[in-house]
């Protein structure tokens, strides 16, 4: 592995007060990797959105819910982060069908994440939780949509 490689995992309670910690870690890693300030802000926002979604899927802060896993993978020119919850899951195709409707009526989370990162992936199955993964390259900017 290149010298800049780093990989670690944060297991956090599915509670809103811990989202800031996941965001802080992403920002610190991106800064260590010499991402631009704009890209650091994008990453922090994307991780915040992913963790917020995971908390909502896992009971929205209720007690005694399964923790959320945030996994950070830093390589020479990109940072990949996946967030796994153990909520009820859903059919990912609904993400595409409902995206515009969601943007207009429910929230801004998923469309916002997609606009901030280079790669967005979602794997969710009913009763098996949701894994959302994003990758941001150090050298590439994003076009606002």
């Amino acid at each position: 592995m290149p010298d800049d490689s780093l990989e670690f995992e944060l297991e956090m309670p599915a509670k809103p007060k811990y989202v800031g910690l996941a965001r802080l870690l992403a920002g610190s890693m991106a800064r260590r990797m010499s991402f631009s300030e704009e890209n650091i802000d994008d990453l922090k926002l994307a991780i915040s959105e992913m963790c917020t979604n995971a908390i909502v899927h896992t009971g929205n802060g209720e007690e005694d819910k399964a923790p959320i896993i945030v996994h950070y993978i830093a390589r020479d020119d990109f940072l990949k982060v996946w967030v796994k919850d153990q909520g009820p899951g859903f059919n990912p195709s609904r993400l595409i069908e409902g995206e515009r409707k969601e943007l207009l009526t429910k929230g801004f989370g998923i469309p916002l994440i997609k606009s901030l990162v280079d790669v967005f992936e979602c794997d969710s199955r009913p009763e098996n939780g949701t894994l959302v993964s994003i990758t941001k390259y150090r050298g590439q900017g994003n076009q606002e949509s």
């Binding site: 809103p16 007060k17 989202v19 800031g20 965001r23 704009e38 802000d41 922090k44 926002l45 915040s48 959105e49 963790c51 917020t52 908390i55 943007l103 929230g107 801004f108 989370g109 469309p111 916002l112 606009s115 901030l116 606002e144 949509s145």
Partner: protein, 127 residues
């Protein structure tokens, strides 16, 4: 003027809120981070003003370091609430990193956005 709110809701939430009256507006000044943990505090601040019949609200984001979709959702909810009472909810912000989020989500077309407090006063006097 300088009517400070009590902020006792959530320990360590990283968001300070003060309110004051400016011209015929109620100004909510935020300082810190608005996310899923702290956004309920902003929601309550807006609700408190509306409950007092103060439906012309400006939220000052100049000292906000971080804003996510939960915060946007609270602002949109506040806008809907004041519109029901024929009021208005505007934003003061001149920070590119925050304005960018409003642009991405299309909310620059929804909220009146002012560059500063002076800009707010100048534009509302023109209107």
């Amino acid at each position: 003027m300088g009517n400070e709110m009590e902020n006792d809701q959530r320990e360590g939430d990283g968001l300070d809120i003060t309110t004051e009256d400016v011209d015929h507006f109620s100004l909510i000044v935020l300082s810190g981070e608005v996310d899923v943990y702290s956004a309920p505090k902003l929601r309550e601040a807006i609700k408190d003003l509306v409950d007092q019949g103060r439906n012309n609200i400006i939220v000052d984001l100049e000292k906000v370091d971080f804003l996510d979709s939960t915060g946007l959702g609270v602002l949109v909810g506040g806008l809907k609430r004041v519109k029901q009472n024929e009021g208005e909810l505007g934003i003061i912000c001149n920070q590119e990193k925050i304005l960018r989020i409003f642009r991405i989500t299309g909310l620059t077309k929804v909220f009146p956005i002012y560059a500063s407090r002076q800009d707010l006063l100048a534009k509302t006097k023109e209107a």
